[in-house]
């Protein structure tokens, strides 16, 4: 791992009787882009606000670039932040907003003006200097907020759901622009989102949070393909969760609807006859037999959804339901609900969930 820039150590936050952040530990490398992903109320924004200095941790430490900043005020941390609601100063022009932090830092007029121009160029809004926030669209306002956060060359950038107030098309283009700028500047960035697609598409690593805890930290590939908990598996992407019974833990075999399946992943301390939750992505399941997918189960099609290029089919096998996607072929009619079906998958694609 590259050199550590941000370290969260046992970070805990309590409001009255409720603990909203529980013992969060994280190490972020210099220049890394890490997303905090989780549903509303999972504590991700509280962790971000503790890093920014807006909330004081009830326990734990925050180290930035080797310095303990836990008790520093926000204006002493040299951190840039972009807020969900843009938070541009309505009384100031675009140039005034971007130059605000520079003025506070005592930068000379000419140098500040040059930096403002540089930032406007960076966000693709050159020529917008004299406009007021109300004269900009949401996406433009958020880009100005990004430029304002970056103008004073902070050591770290915090983004608190910066795209959630924008429409879908602008979200995608702006997230790509944020990632490009982050890479260009090489600035360590923490990005808070509840949108898994957003997190998967732009992050170096993701910390998935659930009920105040960090459930899993990993690359988008690891988070999607090797979720460690049931929550991560269900929250990130679409997933089939199947209840099975351990047949032989040493041989790594389980029974699904009385069919013996060989797994690749370890069953841990489970004994024969113990229940076990398995997970498999829809793209790892095929309708009918397919080469390389040696495990087969028979069931009945319970539902068919035509989604255009893709057809989503739900197949009931015993008490479990499998969702799988097949490409639309105009020459072949879609499967019919109620008809018998065989599904196939590989034992190596079945993940063992730790509850």
């Amino acid at each position: 791992m590259r050199d550590e820039f941000l370290r969260l150590e046992g970070l805990t936050k309590t409001f009255g009787a409720s603990t909203v952040v529980k013992d969060v530990n994280l190490s972020v490398a210099r220049g890394e882009f890490v997303s905090f992903l989780g549903p509303s109320g999972c504590g991700k924004t509280t962790v971000l606000r503790m890093i920014a200095g807006f909330e004081t941790p009830s326990a734990g430490y925050i180290h930035v670039d080797g310095r303990n900043v836990t008790n520093l005020r926000p204006n002493q941390r040299k951190i840039g932040m972009v807020f969900q609601a843009y938070a541009l100063f309505p009384n100031m022009t675009v140039a005034g907003n971007i130059g605000f932090g520079l003025k506070i830092a005592g930068m000379g007029k000419d140098e500040a003006a040059a930096r403002v121009s540089e930032m406007l160029k960076l966000i693709g809004l050159a020529g917008f200097e004299k406009r007021y926030p109300y004269q900009l669209s949401g996406g433009q306002q958020q880009r100005v907020a990004l430029a304002r956060a970056l103008a004073a060359r902070p050591s770290m950038l915090l983004l608190d759901e910066p795209l959630s107030a924008l429409d879908a098309k602008i979200r995608v283009s702006l997230r790509e622009q944020i990632r490009e700028i982050q890479k260009e500047l090489g600035i360590t960035t923490i990005f808070v989102t509840h949108d898994q697609e957003e997190a998967l598409s732009i992050s170096d690593r993701i910390m998935v949070m659930n009920a105040g805890r960090a459930d899993q930290v990993g690359t988008p590939f690891e988070i999607y393909n090797r979720p460690q908990t049931r929550f991560v598996a269900q929250f990130v992407g679409t997933l089939n969760v199947i209840e099975a019974i351990v047949a032989d833990p040493r041989e790594r075999t389980v029974k699904i609807d009385s069919t013996l399946i060989n797994l690749v992943h370890d069953l841990g301390a489970r004994k024969a006859g113990d229940p076990v939750s398995l997970a498999v992505r829809p793209e790892s399941v095929s309708l009918g037999s397919r080469q390389g997918r040696e495990s087969r189960l028979s069931g009945k099609i319970s539902d068919v959804s035509f989604l255009g290029s893709v057809i989503r089919v739900r197949v009931g096998v015993g008490d479990s339901q499998f969702s799988l996607d097949t490409f639309n072929n105009p020459a072949v009619p879609p499967p019919v609900a109620g008809s018998p079906a065989e599904i196939s998958f590989s034992g190596k694609d079945l993940l063992v969930l730790q509850d």
């Binding site: 920014a52 200095g53 807006f54 005020r73 926000p74 204006n75 941390r77 951190i79 840039g80 932040m81 807020f83 609601a85 938070a87 541009l88 100063f89 309505p90 009384n91 605000f100 932090g101 506070i104 830092a105 007021y132 926030p133 109300y134 004269q135 900009l136 669209s137 949401g138 996406g139 433009q140 306002q141 907020a145 304002r148 956060a149 004073a152 602008i170």
Partner: protein, 264 residues
């Protein structure tokens, strides 16, 4: 079916007559100083009276001082209540309403008792001290209007996020108040300021009991001794007050806009 508009118009006409008739009558009476002809003689008499100019100037000066002290006290107070102590808002709102419940005469007697020549802070011992006492008295009197105007302005902006955005950019509280919060509630503050001005310019009880040469006691004095000039003075005071109200309406057009007007 079209509903008759007669009743709403009748209500409007009665309401307008209720307010306008005394005003028209006063105005008409103020023009009758010359026998058998309308003239502005009463207005000329009033405007040429050195006491009018002295008392009006005094009241305007005290009104400006009241507005400045009011802004310095109330803007930070309302800001901190909204930002840090939101649970205290009902208590603060109740306190700011007290000047509407407690009559000014009670207030001024309380001041005189507390700040008389034998008190710990004998403000009434000197002219400057009494002027300061009168100004603070007026700040209290105008507090319900000033606080509400400022609080309404603060409600229209996202105080918390703007404060946090400025803080993380390195700004301290005085800078945030002066450069971010105040300019964005300026129109509301000016509304409060003009309301305060309108209250102070004609106030009688406090100025009279503190024996200060203000416009309110001057109007009362003229009213007790002259016939047409009091009517002219009433119209002048009315024009000044409505001028202040008109300024509020005018300034509201320049309020900072916060919503996006373009779509990408």
């Amino acid at each position: 079916m079209r509903r008759s508009r007669f009743l709403p118009w009748l209500g409007f006409a009665l309401g307008a007559a209720y307010f306008l008739l005394p005003l028209i009558a006063t105005f008409e009476f103020s023009l009758r100083e010359k026998r058998d002809a309308y003239s502005f003689l009463a207005y000329a008499n009033v405007l040429n009276d050195p006491n009018f100019r002295a008392t009006f100037t005094y009241s305007v000066t005290v009104a400006i001082a009241t507005i400045i002290v009011g802004i310095v006290l109330i803007v930070p107070a309302a800001y901190f209540v909204r930002l840090r102590l939101p649970a205290l808002r009902p208590v603060v709102e109740f306190i700011t309403l007290l000047p509407l419940i407690v009559p000014p005469i009670i207030l001024v007697f309380g001041y005189i008792r507390t700040f008389n020549s034998s008190s710990f802070l004998p403000l009434t011992n000197s002219t400057t001290g009494t002027n300061i006492l009168l100004t603070f008295g007026y700040v209290t009197l105008s507090m319900p209007y000033m606080y509400r105007a400022v609080d309404t302005g603060l409600r229209a902006i996202d105080v918390r996020t703007l404060t946090e955005a400025a803080t993380i950019l390195g700004a301290r509280t005085p800078t945030i108040l002066m450069r971010v919060i105040f300019p964005n509630i300026l129109i509301s503050v000016l509304s409060g300021a003009f309301l305060s001005f309108a209250i102070v310019i004609g106030e009688f009880v406090m100025a009279s009991l503190l024996n200060r040469p203000a416009f309110g006691p001057y109007m009362q004095n003229i009213g007790a001794n002259r016939a047409y000039e009091p009517a002219a003075l009433a119209i002048i005071a009315f024009v000044v007050t409505w001028g202040a109200m008109g300024m509020i309406q005018l300034l509201a057009r320049f309020a900072p806009k916060t919503s996006a007007t373009l779509v990408e």
